[in-house]
Symmetry: C2
Subunit: 141 residues, 2 copies
């Protein structure tokens, strides 16, 4: 029998990069403190004007990533795990999900670098979450 | 007898504002997971060209804040607590202490607003820590 889940909610953003396993690991560590509900989100980013077939492929890959990370969280003994798939701009979709699901903490991996000067000025995903989130944000490095 | 402390180190930045108790609370929660060493830092900010007598008074207040938060952490059953007092620019001094002490996680409260447009552009303390820190950063809101 699963232990009763608490009302504490953690949302971990996963992008399939090398920083995601560390973010999941941290999120699981926190989730186990109060037997929190862990939600794993992956956003299919629509940066370019790609066609429907490519988007379908990206959706499929995203579902695979989510399944993989859900299994990983369960193997780390987190009892209450669910997944969210979104499409659009990563920080916006993460913030929307956090508001909708009323999460207490967002966990995100840091890329640790900026792809361009514009990224530095406008901010990366973690930077935007740190700024706009209404709840606690953990930037895992 | 104190349980053996782990090598995991958490640095929590306290400024005596209303956001500090929440940051300490979160830091204690994380510290208890692996019986980590909790270090509490307070920075006496040298924004203005203040005289020595005022700086002495600020140092005294800073020491009182640190003593208060150290006692609070101990009352929350964190076994290994120490304090750091610094003088200068808050994010710079927090980052320097984090590097020197080789901490694994920095915890900081978010003010949730910006005092000026310049603050928004250049970034608040939590913003700067999120960007420049080499280790995981928790922005408690």
């Amino acid at each position: 029998m699963k232990p009763k889940k608490s009302s504490y909610k953690i949302l971990v953003a996963i992008d399939g990069s090398q920083y995601s396993p560390k973010a999941l690991d941290y999120a699981c560590k926190i989730a186990k403190i109060d037997n929190a509900q862990l939600q794993i989100i992956n956003v299919v980013e629509e940066y370019f004007n790609v066609g429907q077939s490519i988007l379908r492929q990206l959706d499929k890959t995203s579902k695979e990533i989510l399944r993989e990370y859900e299994a990983l969280a369960k193997s780390l003994e987190v009892m209450h795990v669910s997944t969210i798939q979104a499409r659009g701009n990563a920080p916006e979709e993460i913030l929307k999900a956090a508001m909708r699901e009323k999460v207490d903490t967002i966990v995100v991996g840091s890329r640790g670098h900026y792809r361009s000067k514009m990224d530095f000025i406008l901010g990366s995903t973690s930077y935007k979450l740190a700024h706009y989130s209404k709840c606690t944000v953990i930037i895992v490095k």
